[in-house]
Subunit: 395 residues, 2 copies
């Protein structure tokens, strides 16, 4: 079947011809309800419910959904399916199960998270069960173990490099929108609100900041430590009480582990800027995140049997792990800062600022995010411990 953009009837016909999938739905095709819930920037998403169960069907569009004149190669769906298959065994229960991928239709069919809500919306609506960040910390640690050089024969990482380095269309978005555009004059940057114009100009001329961004560009492109989710913000996470799931792995690429950590923390910090009264709760989430991440990584790598560190006895191994964690901490701070800046002034901003009651409050929140972001980026290379990051956030 050649590619075409599916509408609900197309999807119904296609599912009806796939016994493995229609069996999960149960009943007859006519009994199924199909609802389009497209929400992100890049894809159409349908939820299909039948008498026996439900499916989530996500199809790549040949252009940005919200900007039809911005073309976007369909292959990103292939990379998302590869990502899910590469990490699934390590993160069972922490991401939706992938039931099928159609390479012709660039269509993923996966477990439907009917009761789940996107973390960003849940945070904004104050409907979260505390502790969700520990799951994300654990999730990242487990993906590092499944895909990094310490736990696996080096051929595993080499194969992942081969499989994911072609994901250039989405990595180009990261390189442009996160690592470059906010610091230069660029058509993709939206016109800033009047009160923010000077701050935006400052970002574009700040040589100290640009040098630090340069080092982070270098880390992102050169430091191929493990398979990243690549877009792990609070809109890529869904939760239902304590059940937390990571979705949308289409940005997957081998890269520095601190990139996933930093994007996640950056989005919590953005929420903090917009809702400073939640400082205590967000501080607790950040601490829980790093505790789970670092403890799981420590215990996972202590006896890991990959090629990297194959010679090290227990004491040497401990030191090597702490060295790696220090590198990840510095990267985390830097990428956290970049995320805060780009989500405040760049192409894809966050809804969290909608929490601000007045325009003046929103301006202050954005300025705070830019200030914290800049400090994290510039200071990242000299940070020593996770509390250093919190203190730069005023926590």
């Amino acid at each position: 079947m050649t590619y075409r953009i599916f509408d609900a009837p197309d999807l119904r016909d296609w599912l009806a011809q796939r016994p493995d999938l229609s069996e999960r739905l149960g009943g007859e095709a006519a009994d199924w309800t199909i609802r389009e819930v497209s929400d992100g920037n890049l894809n159409t998403v349908f939820l299909v419910h039948g008498p026996a169960g439900a499916l989530c069907c996500k199809q790549a569009l040949p252009h940005v959904r919200v900007a039809p004149d911005w073309p976007m190669p369909l292959e990103r769906a292939l990379y998302e399916s590869r990502y899910m298959r590469a990490v699934a065994p390590a993160v069972t229960g922490l991401m939706p199960e992938l039931f099928a991928y159609s390479p012709d239709l660039f269509l993923l069919v996966m477990e439907c998270l009917t009761e789940h809500e996107v973390l960003r919306s849940a945070l904004i609506a104050d409907r979260v069960t505390p502790g969700f960040s520990a799951v994300i910390g654990s999730y990242i640690a487990r993906t590092v173990q499944a895909t990094g050089w310490v736990s696996q024969p080096f051929e595993t990482g080499a194969h992942l490099l081969e499989q994911f380095s072609g994901n250039t269309a989405l990595t180009r978005i990261t390189v442009d929108l996160i690592l470059t555009d906010p610091y230069r004059v660029c058509d993709r940057n939206p016109e800033p609100e009047a009160g923010l114009r000077e701050d935006v100009k400052a970002l574009q001329t700040d040589q100290v900041l640009h040098r630090a961004v340069g080092r982070l560009q270098e880390r992102f492109l050169s430091a191929r430590q493990a398979l990243l989710h690549g877009d792990l913000h609070t809109g890529s996470i869904m939760l239902d009480g304590a059940d937390v799931r990571v979705i949308d792995g289409e940005f997957a690429t081998m890269g520095p582990v601190g990139f996933d950590c930093g994007l996640y923390l950056g989005n919590l910090a953005l929420h903090l800027c917009a809702a400073p009264h939640k400082a205590a709760a967000l501080r607790a989430e950040m601490l829980a995140f790093w505790k789970a991440f670092s403890e799981d990584l420590r215990s996972g790598l202590q006896n890991a049997g990959g090629d990297q560190w194959a010679l090290s006895g227990p004491a040497a191994r401990k030191e090597l792990i702490e060295g790696l964690l220090s590198d990840i901490l510095r990267d985390t701070a830097g990428f956290c800062g970049l995320e805060m800046i780009r989500r405040t002034v760049g192409f894809a901003q966050v809804a969290d600022y909608g929490l601000c009651a007045t325009e003046a409050e929103r301006l202050l929140a954005r300025q705070k995010a830019l200030q914290i972001g800049r400090t994290l980026v510039v200071e990242s290379a000299s940070l020593r411990s996770f509390p250093d990051i919190l203190s730069l956030m005023g926590l």
Copy 2:
């Protein structure tokens, strides 16, 4: 044509059917002289001379040439051809020209370097024209510019990661023979001469060394800075007076630039241990190497227009380049040390030790190489300048 191991008559018939190649040789097939000159560990090599010109034909064998029970995938010839094509425009005149690659026969046909001698043999025979190391320094700097993230849109490096990460058979050799085996009991390690047994045992139990080796394993696997030659020792270089050529790129992989630098310098340092009376000349070669490498890299990267460092103005760019050079310097020292150790006690040792007049001298030379190698590996993380490396070598 399906793969078979060529002998001279096979090769003659095959060349006769390729007008592009037989034209370079001139005359009739019967006029050509074919001489097998296989010398390395992995391939058969034929030199073909005709009335109009000459060709070098290199065919991959399905096993290690000197160890027929060690199987070796033929695809390494594919990676060598890819390497030559990837770097050729940047290093014109510094490597033989590739005329043809047969993917069926795993056969490369290239420029024949009739008058050239392998650098290692030339060094041993004292037949080198001083200054050859500057060419190698320049060669590495140019390959970094052609394949690294600073000079190119990131898609170039991503494509190289995709193209070369599958070269696992040869990278496995590097991971085992350079990064692991010399520091553990292993069947591939040859029985050391009696006087060296304690030194070999020390390598296998030295926790400080093992931790430093662990950090270098991490650098080799994670730091994907540019396309490496991957085996740049003095046996992979040929010269004829001032005409210096790099050959044998089958180990090519994206990796830390200091790996190529370190292997080259390590082989000069091994020669130094075997022939300490040549200290002044070798010191001059090492200085010339680093001067050419660092100056060419500086000038090449100062205005380079890749994604990495895209924001930096001239002053910030200068600082970023010096930071990168410091990283490369530390890696260079570390990989130099690893190469000295593995070529002294590992599977593939160097002929340079044949220069020692007596067994006692040879033992001393080897012990010196192990001592310098260990110091370079252990101290690498704290080195600041190239003279620091020379001083650890006693130069």
